[in-house]
């Protein structure tokens, strides 16, 4: 029984990854969007090094939040439209696995590219090299949580306007934004930042079962 759950998980992952890689826009769009948003801050605020490096944590995090919400609508919409989702709910596989796989895919095509691009963003915003590791850790935990929240938003707003899911999700992403920027700011000030990372980890640990189950509940609303 165990192996079959992991089998179905890996089948979904393989299929969705293949679809994502066949269409390069899926993983390039969030990446470019992230870099464009980051570039706009120096253009709007001026290129002073001291100003930019103190603003860098906030700028990187706001850009990361927006970029990870950009592709949120696509998590379920295509499968919902072409009936793949129906097939899955008819099959006897636990629907939790489907949602978890979808969240993982969304993170792989948005969170991971953002993580890679964040180093470039950190360089052009003059973030000190010592803060790179805290930044990457906070983004790793934070973007994963955003993918979970985004999946719930996408499931609730399935078939509605794309902007709706972003508006639903944004107020709930406040803790992630605050903790994420706090991690980087603390490391800038040579303070201990492990506490913030632990809270983010705890949110992720509770979010994986909690938010995935609520997302299943939200998806099933469309099949009544």
């Amino acid at each position: 029984m165990h192996s079959s759950i992991f089998d179905s998980l890996s089948i979904i992952l393989k299929r969705d990854l293949m679809i994502a890689f066949r269409r390069s826009s899926t993983y390039i769009t969030p990446l470019i969007f992230f870099l464009i948003v980051v570039t706009f801050f120096p253009l709007a605020l001026g290129p002073q090094e001291s100003l930019l490096s103190s603003l860098a944590p906030g700028v990187i995090w706001i850009a990361a939040l927006l970029a990870s919400l950009l592709a949120v609508e696509t998590i379920f919409s295509e499968d919902f439209r072409d009936g793949t989702l129906d097939d899955f709910f008819i099959s006897l596989e636990p629907s939790f696995i489907l949602v978890f796989a979808k969240v993982t895919i969304h993170w792989l095509i948005t969170g991971l590219p953002i993580l890679a691009a964040s180093s470039i963003a950190a360089i052009i915003l003059y973030l000190p090299l010592d803060s790179f590791i805290p930044m990457l850790l906070s983004l790793l935990l934070g973007t994963s949580f955003m993918s979970l929240l985004g999946a719930l938003g996408a499931a609730l707003a399935l078939g509605k306007s794309a902007i709706l899911s972003a508006i639903i999700v944004l107020p709930f992403s406040v803790p992630t934004l605050l903790m994420g920027t706090s991690v980087i700011t603390s490391s800038l000030n040579n303070q201990d930042f492990s506490g913030f990372l632990m809270i983010m980890g705890a949110m992720l640990a509770l979010g994986i079962p909690g938010l995935c189950l609520l997302t299943v509940e939200a998806l099933l609303l469309n099949y009544e």
Binding site: K160, L164, F172, L178, S186, L211
Partner: protein
């Protein structure tokens, strides 16, 4: 006995009939207590020696801030019941409570701002309480926005229920993180409500106002809920009989 009553209240027509009987009492008690509390607070409570008469806005500000949060908890509780037991009326309650909750939260923000200008010299401070109340307002907006986009009302109720449960889990995290964010970025400049020093003749009207606000909420909720019931069950026979419309 209580269980039977709860099951009866879960049925829209029975709730409607029961609330018709209790509504006048609720109305009278809400108006009476709110009236006494507000006039006591606004007219007869002693003037503050430091802030003068400005502080009297507290009799509206504090109860509405408390109500804004309690109504959210009430909504999440309804959402919980709605998701688990699919009780129709809990979804309607959730939907009816949302506009009241968002109004009280907005009232708290606006009165706080009006109070802040003469006492702090500014309309807005990025204080932990203010910030988390503002985010609560956005969460209410998200819930109401989501409900209005889904056509099928029962489904909309369930979707909002799911989101309100997430909200209940995340609001304590928001409060804590805003606290930490504040201590990280700036020292806490203002603490308005370190109020154990409040004298009893200022405290008593506040307590009465708070009870009055809760009753007022119960009154508004009942009225909203009755409208909601009538609207959703308008094709049912009991509504037609009630309104004297022949089918």
């Amino acid at each position: 006995m209580i269980k039977k009553w709860l099951i009866e209240m879960g049925s829209p027509p029975l709730f409607y009939k029961w609330s018709t009987k209790t509504l006048p009492w609720l109305f009278i008690s809400a108006i009476l207590i709110l009236g006494i509390g507000l006039s006591w607070g606004l007219l007869f409570a002693p003037t503050d020696y430091k802030q003068g008469d400005v502080y009297r806005i507290l009799y509206i500000h504090v109860p509405s801030a408390i109500l804004g949060q309690s109504i959210f908890m009430f909504m999440a509780f309804c959402g919980f019941i709605n998701v688990i037991w699919r009780a129709k009326i809990s979804g309607m309650m959730l939907k009816s409570a949302a506009p009241i909750g968002v109004s009280f939260t907005l009232l708290a923000l606006v009165t706080g701002s009006i109070w802040g200008k003469p006492t702090w010299g500014t309309w807005w401070v990025w204080d932990a309480r203010l910030t988390s109340t503002l985010i609560l307002f956005f969460i209410y907006a998200a819930l109401i926005g989501l409900h209005s986009t889904i056509e099928d009302k029962t489904k909309a109720d369930r979707a909002v229920s799911i989101l309100s449960i997430v909200g209940l889990a995340i609001i304590p995290v928001i409060k804590k993180s805003v606290d930490w964010w504040q201590t990280l970025h700036q020292p806490s400049t203002f603490t308005i409500t370190s109020s154990p020093s409040m004298s009893p003749d200022m405290y008593q009207p506040l307590l009465l106002c708070l009870v009055g606000f809760y009753l007022f909420f119960a009154l508004l909720l009942t009225l909203n809920l009755r409208n909601e019931i009538l609207e959703r069950e308008r094709t049912r026979n009991w509504v037609k009989q009630l309104l004297g419309v022949s089918s």
